[in-house]
């Protein structure tokens, strides 16, 4: 086993990046502001809008955040995954609508492709091109060999599902089958033969779509047979990024609920006096800290200890998934009636946690995978 650095790889640069992200979100993205932006229409039959602040996205691109994990050789900054994880945590804490996390996931898949076309695409990401993965089938399978899209003569046909931030992305990395083998392909979001059909989703801070390809001309990133392997290789990094988002959102839910428990008075005492409130909040904190440490460890393994990366990343995603459910459920419950309203910001984070929790497999899914690795495949 490779020896991991004790500090998870959080050096001065990584810490500075995190601190500047903290400041950026504090200055620009209060929960109040996000709520005003994405929750202006509460109608349960609301129309399907993609609501985000493109000016802020432009600033993020100028700050170089899309380039963080792009290798230097491809025109990026070449920082370790822990840097992206630190940013993802801040994004989760702000419930910030942006294609940054999708772009990070795509970055790691492109990195794993090891082709000239992939390197070129990485350079475009560094330059600010939002990119998202289109690698899931209609059943929502997380198995990387499952896709409902085919590729023949460089043309994509079929439908890909559950594409994250689809209407914010400039391009997609698509998994498609040729003769039963999975390759990866790059296509522009406004190319001919690409139809983005938005899903009506619960999470107000994201958008999601299924995308229909009709003879859409795409560039090969990884040849048939190499595509699923590239996604597998990138999967630990992807799991870390989603886990970090959950850790950040969890911390917002905890701190917001703690604040409420200090100020709301019933029976002549602040709610937090009562142990039926205090102790579960402590349990939420324990759960967040477990998830956070496991996420840093997994990210560090991706950076320095590849043979353990999958194991540690599944641990992180599993713990973060359970924590996401717990932190959001306690936040709503301990806000009482107000917590059940549209007006209270808690629902933004609640819904983001619901969405995160299932993305790339829930806690039980990853534990089943871990059991196969650590106990052996069941008879």
């Amino acid at each position: 086993m490779a020896e991991q650095p004790k500090n998870f790889g959080f050096g001065e640069d990584e810490t500075m990046l995190r601190d500047s992200a903290q400041k950026f979100f504090l200055d620009n993205c209060s929960a109040d502001k996000i709520h005003g932006l994405v929750a202006h229409d509460h109608n349960v039959h609301r129309s399907n809008e993609c609501l985000w602040d493109k000016t802020l996205w432009q600033q993020i691109v100028e700050l170089g955040w899309t380039a963080v994990c792009v290798p230097e050789a491809a025109g990026g900054v070449g920082m370790p995954l822990v840097a992206a994880v630190a940013l993802a945590e801040e994004i989760g804490k702000a419930a910030f609508p942006s294609p940054l996390l999708s772009t990070y996931s795509a970055t790691f898949v492109l990195n794993a492709c090891q082709s000239d076309e992939a390197t070129k695409a990485l350079g475009e990401i560094a330059g600010g091109k939002a990119t998202s993965l289109a690698v899931t089938n209609q059943q929502g399978s997380w198995e990387t060999t499952d896709t409902d899209v085919s590729i023949d003569d460089g043309k994509l046909n079929g439908v890909t599902y559950f594409v994250q931030d689809a209407r914010k992305a400039d391009q997609f990395v698509v998994s498609a089958k040729h003769d039963g083998e999975v390759g990866l392909y790059l296509i522009d979001s406004n190319a001919d033969g690409v139809e983005i059909i938005p899903d009506n989703i619960i999470d107000l801070t994201r958008d999601q779509a299924h995308i229909r390809f009709k003879n859409a001309h795409a560039i090969e990133l990884a040849a048939p047979g190499a595509g699923d392997k590239a996604i597998n290789e990138a999967m630990p990094a992807i799991l870390c990024i989603v886990s970090a988002d959950m850790v950040g959102a969890g911390e917002w839910l905890l701190q917001t609920t703690v604040e409420y428990a200090k100020t709301r008075v019933q029976f002549d005492r602040p709610l937090g006096f009562f142990q039926a409130v205090k102790h579960p909040l402590v349990n939420v904190m324990l759960d967040i800290d477990r998830a956070k440490s496991l996420t840093y460890n997994a990210a560090c393994a991706v950076d320095t200890d590849a043979e353990n990366a999958e194991k540690f990343a599944r641990m992180a995603k599993s713990q973060a998934g359970d924590m996401a459910v717990f932190s959001s459920s306690r936040a709503v419950q301990f806000h009482g009636g107000i917590g059940f309203t549209w007006e209270c910001y808690v629902h933004l984070f609640f819904k983001r946690q619901m969405h995160n929790q299932v993305l790339y497999g829930d806690a039980k899914y990853h534990r089943a995978k871990l059991a196969d690795m650590l106990i052996g495949v069941a008879a």
Binding site: G272, L286, S293
Partner: protein
């Protein structure tokens, strides 16, 4: 990257290889007596003696008390105890018997006693020749520790002590006790003072030790009665009336949240010929492979698999929390993770043992004394014993109060 956070310092890495070397040559091997699951269950003097020999040899080799100054019997090193602990545990050594001495008494004495008392008491404490016990709890002062009734009255250069302590682990073997008691009835907290007092040498002469029987049938803790025990004033730690403050040093270390790292070895399996360690998830997995459930092995049962992996994840998260807490910039409150340690560790052990006995099914009904008990009957016993530590050292409910109040800033529950 500028910080030394990344790798062992040169002192640490040199010391690490020294420890590895020494342990490879000097592991004590299997005991010729039956050793209980933990030091708090020690009742057989022969078992104690065997473990004391181990502690003394590790002390003489420089692996215990590494970070204490040489003048008080320590190794004079910086941040090396953690290294020694890692290596002793990697080498699957026996546990150390003087746990209350090292974990609670030593740091308290070190931070609060006068110099001659430190030099007198610490060397034999660290070597394990003197066993120590902790006289905090009383019949009316458990979670509400400040409600002490044991009273010390000044008599010239001496103090005369009267009172009743309970649940005093290891008092039956102890040469010394750390004692919290009352010196004034006027103030609950500021009326407390802190002493170190002899036990063994004054039994029948002011001190009575009576064993209490645990729910498992084992002994290990006691009642201690003081009747006009006379103690010299120099054995008082810190000022008269400062007992509560001194006790906080003890409690912080007891919960693994103090500045000094407690020497700890362990990992040796308890049952000859098996590899049972009731704090190891690998042992749990092995157990599941060997137990039948619903026509297959328990290791093939999807629910058991899920439960095992949950515990594996919790165990890994504890390790990673420990790693993270050493890097101040990665937490928002310096005590956030240290104050979680006792709580999450003891609950993990309890849940592991609970799952293990469920995996054992019908055979979990068999006591350690039954030849047919799987894994020597250690798991059901560990399950029962696990309640000792979810209660002791500040019950876990009280730990949750502390975390809620000190870290999250919620109002005090009292």
């Amino acid at each position: 990257m500028s910080k030394a956070d990344n790798k062992d310092t040169s002192e640490q890495s040199e010391f690490r290889s020294y420890c590895q070397d020494w342990l490879a040559k000097n592991h004590p091997g299997r005991p010729d007596v039956k050793i209980p699951q933990g030091a708090l269950e020690l009742s057989d003097p022969a078992a104690l003696a065997w473990l004391q020999t181990w502690q003394k040899s590790a002390y003489d080799a420089g692996m215990i008390g590494c970070d204490y100054p040489v003048e008080v019997g320590g190794g004079g090193k910086t941040d090396c105890q953690a290294i020694a602990n890692q290596e002793m545990q990697r080498a699957k050594t026996p546990y150390l018997p003087n746990i209350i001495g090292m974990g609670m008494a030593a740091p308290t004495i070190f931070f609060h006693a006068q110099d001659d008392v430190k030099a007198e008491l610490l060397p034999k404490l660290l070597s394990g020749e003197d066993i120590w016990c902790q006289g905090f709890s009383e019949p009316g002062a458990g979670s509400d520790l400040a409600n002490q009734q044991t009273f010390a009255e000044r008599d010239g250069d001496n103090w005369v002590i009267n009172g009743h302590k309970v649940w005093t682990s290891l008092a039956h073997f102890a040469s010394w006790m750390i004692l919290l008691c009352r010196t004034s009835k006027d103030d609950k907290y500021n009326g407390l003072s802190y002493f170190v007092v002899p036990i063994q040498s004054v039994i029948g002469n002011g001190v009575t030790v009576r064993p209490l029987i645990k729910m498992t049938g084992e002994t290990g803790f006691n009642e201690v009665l003081f009747e006009n025990l006379v103690v010299e004033d120099r054995y008082r730690l810190d000022e008269v009336g400062a007992g509560w403050k001194v006790a906080m040093t003890t409690l912080a270390h007891e919960r693994g949240a103090g500045p000094l790292v407690t020497p700890a070895s362990g990992g040796m399996s308890l049952e000859e010929g098996t590899s049972v360690s009731t704090s190891s998830t690998l042992s749990l997995i092995n157990l599941a492979r060997n137990q039948n459930r619903n026509g297959k092995t328990a290791a093939d049962d999807p629910i058991i698999r899920d439960e095992i992996i949950k515990l594996v994840i919790r165990q890994e998260s504890m390790r990673q929390n420990g790693r993270r807490t050493a890097i101040p910039s990665l937490t928002d409150h310096p005590m956030r993770i240290p104050l979680q340690g006792k709580l999450v560790g003891t609950e993990l052990n309890q849940d592991m043992a609970e799952l293990a006995y469920q995996i054992e099914g019908a055979a979990s009904s068999l006591n350690v004394t039954d030849d047919n008990a799987p894994a020597g009957g250690q798991w059901p016993l560990a399950y029962m014993n696990s309640f000792g530590i979810t209660i002791a050292a500040g019950a876990n409910e009280v730990q949750r109060n502390i975390l809620g109040e000190r870290v999250l800033g919620l109002p005090k529950s009292k």
